[in-house]
């Protein structure tokens, strides 16, 4: 399936905050409490539509443990969007946000759109981090904020799509250089000068690689 743009995302945050579950909920629309511990980086992809344009999201789900952090770092480069996730039921995951953000800012391109996600909103009874705290952090650091539940799917679509929308706006404003793949954005085959009107090889290959589309 062809697409107008491909955006590369990265999901970061402490171990166990629900990064892989968010991804799975978004790509497969299901919650799987039992899943593999992420070693290094795992992947997902999904097609979304913004302004009648097909946009493919290619999402890199990273391992949260400190020991893996530099693989995370190495993937910031070339990401257009990042979901920075914490767990509202574990204060320490919120406390580590500054570190994550520092990392992200330091290793990514300056235009990368970062969305702050307070996950596990379904576990309100065990909440340790108030919604307002998340909002305040986001405001302070210029992030978009949302509380989500990978379990109930609440706000999951929105989180990914709003991020995409913001990236798309930046493209339209000419902030992103779409021809530089290091920005995490790729123009789909039908937009490339030579491949106008064709659903070329590139798109096909992309579809296969993603596997979820």
């Amino acid at each position: 399936m062809s697409y107008a743009y491909l955006f590369k995302y990265i999901i970061i945050g402490d171990t166990g905050v629900g990064k892989s579950c968010l991804l799975l909920q978004f790509t497969d629309k299901r919650f799987q409490p039992v899943h593999d511990l992420t070693i290094g980086v795992e992947f997902g992809a999904r097609m979304i539509t913004i302004d009648n344009k097909q946009i493919k999201l290619q999402i890199w789900d990273t391992a949260g443990q400190e020991a893996f952090r530099s693989i995370t770092r190495s993937y910031y480069r070339g990401a257009a969007g990042a979901l920075l996730v914490y767990d509202i039921t574990r204060r320490e995951t919120f406390n580590h946000l500054t570190q994550w953000l520092e990392d992200a800012r330091q290793h990514s391109n300056s235009n990368m759109v970062i969305m702050l996600i307070g996950n596990k909103s379904d576990l309100d009874s065990r909440r340790e981090v108030k919604r307002e705290e998340g909002e305040a952090f986001a405001r302070e650091h210029g992030l978009v904020f949302m509380e989500t539940s990978a379990k109930t799917a609440a706000n999951v679509e929105e989180a990914f799509i709003n991020t995409a929308r913001e990236i798309y706006e930046k493209i339209q404003e000419g902030v992103f250089d779409v021809h530089n793949e290091a920005n995490g954005i790729k123009i789909g085959p039908q937009h490339s000068p030579s491949g106008a009107g064709l659903t070329g090889n590139q798109g096909a290959a992309g579809g296969q690689g993603g596997g979820c589309c």
């Binding site: 511990l37 992947f43 290619q58 020991a67 530099s70 190495s74 590139q202 690689g209």
Partner: protein, 789 residues
């Protein structure tokens, strides 16, 4: 009469054969039909075809329905030899030859082996299956044609399905394992055990017992009773270690930060480890999940320099599932971690080295593929991280992973603990902890930082070029240093295993451990004695030639793969025919030597803490070198259909200079070109060089004791995964992201037999390379002298 037979059979192009399998345990009989060329099909060949057609793993006997006019009515006659088969072809094959197959009970297969020497034990079914060894080269081509027809007749998938990747040996059975123990239950044949498991894995029921041997849980020489006591002791030790932190966790008011950190981490991770497996499925407080948690926590708290790191749960889980006992699984985990803990070290050196070696191997075996990855900025191979860290455990379905793991472990030389396997580094002591609270380990500089920094750096071409050039220069200097005195020594070292006819096993028994190192060196000297040199030269040239054939000759399929049938034809015409005509006794002798020497080396290790250089050579030659030359041919049967792809994958490599030397030249010049290759190797040592186009080239591989941080087979498994998706990746022009995603999606889905078959083949070919230069670079000549003094 004899000529009459020949005439009669030669007048027929094909004989139709119908085979029915009569089994004692299964009610239903199977049957299959195929045609064979009576001229080319011998008794062994037929047995082989039958074994494959019915997937027979054990012994079986064949009889045929005689429609002979000597007998009043058709009756079953045993078919035991070529003569029987010939008679059957002549007298009883109209309209078809009916053959009955009866499976024998597996008991008895090993009876004959008990009192026999080790070599036969190590490869009990080789002579039976190894039909191609018996066929002169001229017949090979015709034979293959026939075989392919037969394959069609038997509906074997030509593209190489499961059948062609089937392990070279059926899984080791209980009775076979019993044969490897002596009367008091000591493991008398550790090498052979490893070889058998390497070739075919274990019957699942045997894993609980044999894995402890493979994982080096037991010190050498324990009797069966002692092993039981040993495990009892270890279980007690474990329970004590576990009790300390559990009590601390339950009773103490102030739980130390370290314990909190570790238990939290581990608890989260065990809930996401192999939960799809029935053993860990169900509610989160499942006792088996709890066991995994206890194992990992106990390990982390009692190994402060390592602690807990994600990935460990994946390594421990198969052990627990197999042992079905928490304490035993812990002991196994300690044994496993003794080898792989460096992967989890914060410095990242071990992982960096593995990435580096994988890169070198890819350059060496498939420069074109590597260039593709380079162009797509995927040459850092970071997507292989999980493969390397978990030793591919997650790349195969769980049960397949168990098989892959035991094969992988068996590819390593035995390394039993000296007295007892330590279950802790520093025993966890909560009281002490509280006095001097250690901050939770939140390393800012993780090993991943280092690995990735290095990988990313390397993905930048210019950096790599500089790096490589520096490497060449330093290595060249190293090899020049030792060129003079060491010239040719490498070949001698390598061939030592093949040329030493003395049975060193007796020497080993008598020689105290301290002296064994000297013994090794004496052997090395002896191996250079003149009467050994012819054999040695033959071996050496064959090795190098195989290397050349492997690396070149795109045009000729059969030549470009050393395991292909034509190799033997050529070798035969080139070399000493007498030697080749009786390959079995020669190799048996060698095998026994190698095995024995390996044991003496491990003795040497007790006395000399550092591996002796020569000792390592033998240890590493052992697991698979024992296979050649027979097993090459054996393997080629099993994996025949797969080879063309392999050849394609393996062809583009090494620089063009060698290519021109070999291409288009006749057999007579082979030796010359081999020599020149040798010279080149001697000048460059093992290493990375730059071709004219600026792309890196690796001329020689790191030796097995270094390759992959001492786990060379893992490297070949990873390489195989990469190569088996080469076509798909390149055809679809996958970029870095796409191919990383592609491999990510392959989690638990690789075909274990296909991967193992190719990895084994590559590994075996690799072991025949000449590593002398790489070794001499790393081991200063003086150290060798020291040992012999």
């Amino acid at each position: 009469m004899a000529s009459g037979i020949t005439t009669a059979t030669s007048s027929r192009d094909a004989v139709r054969i119908k085979v029915i399998q009569h089994s004692h345990c299964e009610v239903d009989s199977q049957c299959c039909r195929f045609s064979v060329d009576p001229e080319l099909t011998g008794y062994e060949v037929l047995r082989n075809l039958i074994a494959r057609a019915f997937d027979l793993k054990g012994e079986f006997q064949t009889c045929y329905l005689a429609r002979d006019d000597r007998f009043p009515e058709a009756c079953w006659l045993p078919m035991l030899s070529d003569f029987d088969l010939e008679m059957a072809f002549i007298k009883s094959s109209d309209p078809y030859l009916l053959v009955k197959v009866e499976l024998l009970s597996s008991n008895g297969t090993w009876d004959a082996v008990t009192n026999m020497d080790i070599p036969k034990l190590s490869l009990p079914d080789l002579p039976r299956n190894n039909y191609s060894a018996k066929l002169p080269g001229i017949f090979k081509e015709k034979m293959e044609k026939t075989l392919s027809i037969v394959q069609k007749a038997l509906n074997w998938n030509e593209e190489g399905d499961e059948a062609s990747f089937r392990p070279t040996r059926p899984p080791l059975t209980d009775s076979e394992f019993q044969q490897m123990l002596n009367r008091v239950g000591q493991l008398a044949h550790p090498k052979e055990l490893r070889l058998c498991v390497y070739l075919g894995g274990l019957e699942p029921s045997l894993r609980k017992v044999v894995w402890k041997h493979l994982l080096n849980v037991y010190p050498e020489g324990l009797t069966g009773r002692e092993r039981l006591d040993y495990m009892k002791q270890k279980t007690k030790e474990y329970e004590a270690l576990k009790a300390v932190w559990q009590e601390h966790l339950n009773n103490d008011q102030q739980v130390s930060e370290e314990v909190k950190y570790v238990t939290n981490m581990v608890r989260k991770d065990v809930l996401r480890t192999d939960r799809h497996h029935s053993y860990f499925s169900g509610p989160d407080d499942n006792t088996n999940v709890q066991s995994l948690y206890s194992i990992l926590t106990t390990y982390a708290l009692n190994h402060p320099s390592i602690g807990y790191c994600q990935g460990m749960s994946d390594l421990a889980s198969p052990l627990l599932v197999t042992m079905r006992d928490e304490a035993q699984a812990y002991v196994c985990f300690c044994a496993l971690m003794a080898r792989v803990h460096s992967n989890f070290h914060i410095d990242g050196d071990a992982m960096t080295l593995k990435f580096q070696h994988l890169t070198e191997a890819l350059i060496f075996y498939d420069i074109e593929y590597f260039s593709y990855l380079q162009v797509h900025q995927a040459d850092d191979l970071l997507f292989c991280y999980r493969w390397l860290l978990l030793e591919l455990k997650r790349e195969f379905a769980f049960e397949d992973a168990l098989y892959m793991l035991e094969v992988l472990w068996s590819s390593l030389p035995p390394n039993p603990p000296e007295e007892s396997l330590p279950l802790f580094e520093v025993p966890f002591n909560p009281v002490q902890e509280e006095k001097t609270p250690i901050p939770p380990p939140t390393p800012r500089q993780s090993h991943y930082d280092n690995v990735c920094a290095l990988r990313r750096q390397r993905s930048c071409v210019s950096n790599r070029s500089a790096e490589c050039l520096a490497a060449i220069l330093s290595r060249r200097a190293a090899s020049v240093d030792c060129d003079g005195p060491e010239t040719g020594a490498g070949g001698k070292k390598l061939s030592r295993t093949w040329s030493q006819p003395i049975d060193t096993s007796r020497v080993r028994v008598r020689v105290p451990s301290g002296e064994t190192a000297i013994n090794v060196d004496r052997i090395r000297e002896e191996s250079t004695s003149p009467e050994d040199s012819p054999t040695r030269n033959i071996r050496k040239i064959r090795n190098l030639r195989e290397f050349q054939l492997l690396t070149k000759n795109k045009d000729s399929d059969c030549e470009s793969n050393p395991a292909s049938p034509c190799r033997d034809k050529k070798t035969l015409s080139n070399k000493n025919k007498e030697e080749y005509s009786k390959p079995l006794p020669v190799s048996c002798e060698n095998k026994s030597n190698k095995s024995r020497r390996c044991f003496s080396d491990s003795d040497a290790d007790v006395g000399v803490p550092v591996y002796s250089d020569g000792g390592e050579v033998d240890v590493w030659q052992n697991p698979v070198a024992t296979l050649s030359p027979e097993t090459d041919q054996h393997l080629q049967i099993v994996c025949q259909e797969e080879q063309p792809t392999t050849i394609q994958q393996l062809t583009p490599k090494v620089n063009g200079q060698h290519q021109s030397e070999v291409d288009g030249e006749g057999e007579t010049t082979m030796t010359a070109s081999v020599n020149s290759c040798e010279e080149v190797t001697e000048v460059t040592g093992w290493q990375v060089a730059m071709s004219a186009s600026g792309s890196p080239q690796v001329h020689t591989m790191p030796p097995p004791e270094e390759f992959g941080g001492g786990n060379p087979f893992l490297m070949f498994l990873c390489l195989t995964l990469l190569l088996q998706h080469r076509q798909h990746i390149m055809q679809n022009k996958m970029d870095h992201n796409e191919l990383a995603m592609h491999f990510d999606k392959m989690v638990r889905q690789h075909n274990v037999n296909k991967v193992l078959a190719q990895a084994r083949r590559m590994f075996e070919t690799y072991l025949k390379l000449d590593f002398s230069k790489a070794r001499s670079k790393n081991t200063p000549p003086s150290s060798t002298i020291d040992q012999s003094c």
